[in-house]
């Protein structure tokens, strides 16, 4: 058993293959990083420098940037995002982007969002993957197989997130019992037939939906890895994230997860 695990880990570490999907994921995250830079710029222009208002730094106040330094960091954020999209020096730019995201969240806890943490984690891992061989501005694609260990690490990160999210809900009696879910229903009620929406708003319906969400998350953590269940798991995961996206304002997180799902697909799918 232990030998099997060790052999699997070695295979994931040394695996090589097609890198087209990594190029697609890089462009997707580059666009999301551009969106982040745009959001931060809009906030700076509209509401002013965050340090002039109430903010909650994890870091000592002395390490929080001044308005001038923050503006320079924003410029760096724009440049790094553009490089990621273009594919030129994209991997160092991904690391810089991730570092800037983390630094911003450490300077102000009010900036924390799960999707930003997720974005920083995936950008860090993507920086170590050969994501700059396809879809590069002004350069032909390099179709040679590349190391896929970082791609597998991104998939592992997906499983870790599902386990953490599903596990915390499972351990929370109120979540498990549906109290939280019943408060989320109004978002879904607008797209469901009214009789079904009413049924899901009952305590029994909310409880079943909560348990279904927990089962889905914990199941996806495992089933995405198994060849026999992968296709069904991807379909279930896409449906799950789109449903959540209709109920809550987490569209950026949905986009991130759907992008990373590309890495679970067989190379024949992503190469068209």
């Amino acid at each position: 058993m232990l030998a099997d695990v060790a052999a699997t880990l070695r295979r994931l570490r040394d695996d090589e293959g097609d890198t087209r999907a990594l190029g697609m994921v890089r462009v997707g995250f580059g666009l999301l990083l551009l969106n982040e830079a745009w959001l931060a710029t809009q906030e700076l222009r509209g509401q002013g420098f965050f340090g002039d208002h109430f903010h909650q730094p994890y870091l000592p106040e002395a390490l929080v940037p001044s308005a001038g330094v923050y503006t320079l960091l924003l410029v760096a954020q724009w440049l790094a995002a553009l490089l990621v999209v273009a594919g030129r020096r994209a991997r160092p730019a991904l690391l810089v982007s991730a570092a800037l995201l983390v630094y911003a969240m450490l300077c102000d806890r009010l900036w924390f969002h799960h999707y930003r943490h997720t974005m920083a984690a995936f950008c860090t891992l993507l920086a170590f993957a050969p994501c700059d061989r396809h879809l590069v501005l002004g350069r032909a694609a390099d179709r040679a197989p590349g190391p896929l260990w970082a791609q597998h690490a991104m998939k592992l990160q997906v499983s870790l997130m599902y386990l953490a999210s599903g596990g915390s809900k499972l351990l929370d009696p109120e979540w498990r019992g549906g109290q939280m879910w019943s408060r989320m229903m109004p978002g879904l009620a607008t797209v469901l037939p009214s009789s079904l929406a009413r049924a899901l708003e009952t305590p029994l319906g909310a409880s079943l939906m909560a348990k279904g969400a927990i089962t889905t998350e914990l199941g996806l953590a495992v089933l995405l890895w198994l060849p026999r269940t992968r296709r069904a798991a991807i379909a279930a995961g896409v449906l799950f994230h789109l449903t959540i996206s209709m109920m809550t304002p987490v569209r950026l997180f949905t986009i991130e997860m759907l992008l990373v799902y590309l890495l679970f697909l067989k190379p024949e799918v992503t190469s068209g």
């Binding site: 570490r13 040394d14 509401q47 208002h53 109430f54 903010h55 909650q56 991997r91 160092p92 690391l95 969240m105 806890r109 009010l110 924390f112 799960h114 943490h117 984690a121 860090t124 891992l125 920086a127 170590f128 260990w149 690490a153 592992l156 990160q157 870790l160 997130m161 953490a164 999210s165 915390s168 929370d172 109120e174 979540w175 109290q179 939280m180 019943s182 408060r183 989320m184 809550t248 987490v250």
Partner: protein, 154 residues
């Protein structure tokens, strides 16, 4: 630097996922459960009312999110809560404010916001402390209210 050999890959993954697992395991130590992937932990809200404690202990309510203060020279100044405290902190007073990362986190934000406002209103020479009464609702169920008081440095 980004092309790692076999040993480097193993070390990198051990550090990266070790850090992620540590963050997940310690999420309960942070009121916002940040970095723990606790998606949609609660459907909660709070309602914050702020009073100013003046000389002699008298309380003066902050109405419509603002108050008229006098500096130490007697000059008048209008102090507006919302200009200092912005969403997703409780920017609006006397109205329900969503607590997407949990009610405990929103109470902590309120306490920290009181501290920040107390420290950044030098034009107010009258207020001795800011007092907040926080009504809390977790997943639709009302909880006992919380009272906070932050003294101003003199």
């Amino acid at each position: 630097m980004l092309e790692l050999g076999a040993r480097g890959r193993a070390w990198f993954c051990a550090l990266f996922f070790g850090g992620e697992i540590l963050l997940v395991a310690t999420a309960d130590l942070r009121t916002d459960k940040s970095y723990g992937f606790r998606m949609f932990p609660e459907a909660s809200s709070i309602r914050v009312h702020v009073d100013r404690r003046l000389d002699g202990g008298r309380l003066a309510p902050v109405e419509a999110g603002a108050w008229q203060a006098h500096d130490c020279s007697g000059g008048g100044h209008r102090v507006v809560w919302r200009q200092m405290v912005r969403w997703p902190a409780p920017a609006v007073l006397d109205a329900p404010v969503g607590a997407p990362y949990g009610v405990d986190n929103e109470v902590q934000r309120t306490r920290d916001a009181l501290r920040w406002v107390a420290d950044h209103t030098p034009e107010d020479c009258e207020t001795r402390a800011l007092v907040a009464h926080v009504e809390r609702t977790r997943n639709g169920q009302p909880l006992d209210p919380v009272d906070l008081e932050v003294e101003r440095a003199r």
